[in-house]
Symmetry: C2
Subunit: 345 residues, 2 copies
């Protein structure tokens, strides 16, 4: 098996820099769009054979060093009692947003094997098929809470911030239920065969460090503490987190003894600066996905600059700073992977 990705997570020497891409299975692939004409997003997530097929699609085309389970961060929430739908070109829309203690109390902590058996089954099936490591994932409590509180995607997350400042007990109750569910959900994925997991706190960058410490850190910490005994690499990712990196690392727990902590950084943070600040972690990132909309040459130039920043360091996993965008040309993905794999040869 190609274990370049796992070795980089552990900051061991690798023959070349591993690369995978957030949302590497998605709309930019014609074969994905063909499937999506027949099935809606939630059906694809809830049908193990479809989730497996979509997960494998990018690996047939590209020389990627890891697979990530095809799913959606909202998936475990339905069984908790969150009534949502994924609306085309809008995103997750929640029919019963939670904005008080009663709403938080009404949510249930799930047992993943019973609540989302299709996810666990997809992980099992994938492990048989794959010759690269399989990454499981979940949304982080803050990012999931933001959808549950706002009721729909929002730029500023004002209702979320209002809840956490105005009703801290209700906020912490909601976050605690999410943390329990997510910890169980990721552990179930690991038991089923996931060889690494990524926690997506995509929108946490709207918070100040002081608010992150008070309202998010304790909950994300619980999740990583529950995962640590498994020893699998744990990737902690967010966007706009330039001033939160130390806290994301703190949430991830110690990098040694209990498996490695990997921090995912977006394009706003030069990798060398991030390493100066964080020290003994592996870093994942960090090409701006918008650059992937341009030309192979522009992609190559930006990729070289990122690889140069990582030079001489163990523990770099190349990725974008956020998910692949729907209009990304395939030739740009092709070139990016070539450039990363041939670097330093």
């Amino acid at each position: 098996m190609n274990d370049r990705f796992l070795r980089a997570c552990r900051r061991e020497p690798v023959d070349r820099t591993p690369i995978w891409l957030m949302r590497q299975a998605g709309r930019y692939l014609p074969e994905y769009r063909t499937l999506r004409e027949k099935y809606d997003m939630l059906t694809m997530c809830r049908t193990p054979e479809l989730a497996v097929e979509v997960t494998l699609q990018p690996l047939r085309r590209f020389d990627l060093d890891a697979a990530i389970l095809f799913s959606d961060i909202m998936i475990p929430l339905a069984a908790m009692g969150v009534d949502f739908n994924i609306v085309e070109s809008v995103g997750p829309v929640v029919a019963n947003p939670v904005r008080d203690q009663r709403g938080a109390d009404a949510l249930r902590v799930i047992e993943p094997e019973r609540a989302v058996p299709f996810v666990i089954e997809a992980v099992r099936l994938l492990r048989r098929e794959l010759r690269v490591p399989l990454i499981g994932f979940a949304g982080a409590p803050f990012t999931l809470a933001s959808y549950i509180v706002e009721g729909k995607p929002s730029r500023e997350l004002l209702l979320t911030k209002k809840l956490l400042h105005c009703d801290p007990p209700a906020w912490h109750a909601l976050m605690d239920k999410l943390a329990q569910t997510i910890a169980a959900y990721l552990l179930a994925q690991i038991r089923a065969g996931a060889q690494a997991v990524q926690l997506f706190d995509s929108w946490v960058g709207v918070l100040s460090p002081r608010d992150y410490r008070e309202f998010v850190l304790p909950h994300s910490k619980k999740i990583f503490a529950a995962l640590a005994p498994t020893g699998v690499p744990r990737i902690h990712f967010g966007t706009g987190t330039a001033t939160l990196l130390e806290l994301l690392k703190e949430a991830g727990g110690p990098a040694t003894g209990s498996g490695p902590a990997v921090i995912g950084v977006d394009w706003r943070v030069p990798l060398d600066h991030a390493w100066e600040r964080l020290g003994d972690v592996a870093l994942q990132g960090n090409l701006d996905p918008a650059v992937m909309l341009t030309s192979p040459d522009s992609v190559e130039q930006h990729a070289h600059e990122i690889l140069a920043q990582a030079h001489g360091r163990r523990g770099h996993i190349f990725n974008l700073g956020h998910g692949v965008l729907p209009n990304t040309p395939l030739e740009n993905v092709e070139r990016l992977i070539e450039v990363v794999h041939s670097h330093g040869k």
Copy 2:
């Protein structure tokens, strides 16, 4: 005249920390909403008596240390040839977005006294009325370009990034025309009586430092270089700029000899960290405007923490990290100003 704000810009001792609020004239004020029932946004910006009235509204209620001209960053663009409207609960919508060299070439550099005489007149009228300093302002080239390229407000600014990466000559042509116009526009405001100016690069935080350096810095630099001989304080503001602060400072030019440079920071960057990195500048900020939606006590707690970070430093101008939100309760604004003014007494 109360010159606490100007003294803090110059990092001179002050009797108490000055405070003003971005968008302090706006929807959270009942008297503003009453006027807006009669006039649309653009009419208010283009009628000097109305712009003056709205500028003065928050000063009648609150003990603010500066006034900022009521206007919109899109105002100078109409005379350049940008056909836009400000659409209720959407924002600026541009009928003829610029996405190539031809579009950039079609724009005109304006002479502000002829193109936007109503703005210059409003500044003149305000200077007669005010007993606090008057701040003039403009949108920065990147942020204005983003509206002109996207055609409407956008979260990720993908079309903007695509243009700058795929057609750098067209991008630089657009940015250069904007820089020339904005420099002339701010100089005209200063001649008419503005005692400080703020350049709003509100959305520049979507860029990596390397892309900022290549595609934005040269143009913002031209503006600050044109303003430096006037000696008035120049505030350079953006959101999500944690990794761009040094570059925002560089764009602002030397802080001494030609009047002070002030950097506006949002709530993501603790003030003491920003000062450690930037050294000899004044800082403006940085309470999360979402905190202003909560309670007077929560506002007070957050304000105290920010004041503590600024402790012992000259050159702190208290502000929010972005504009006042429409639903902000008046009592929270009242409390904030009280807390800032009584700090250290």
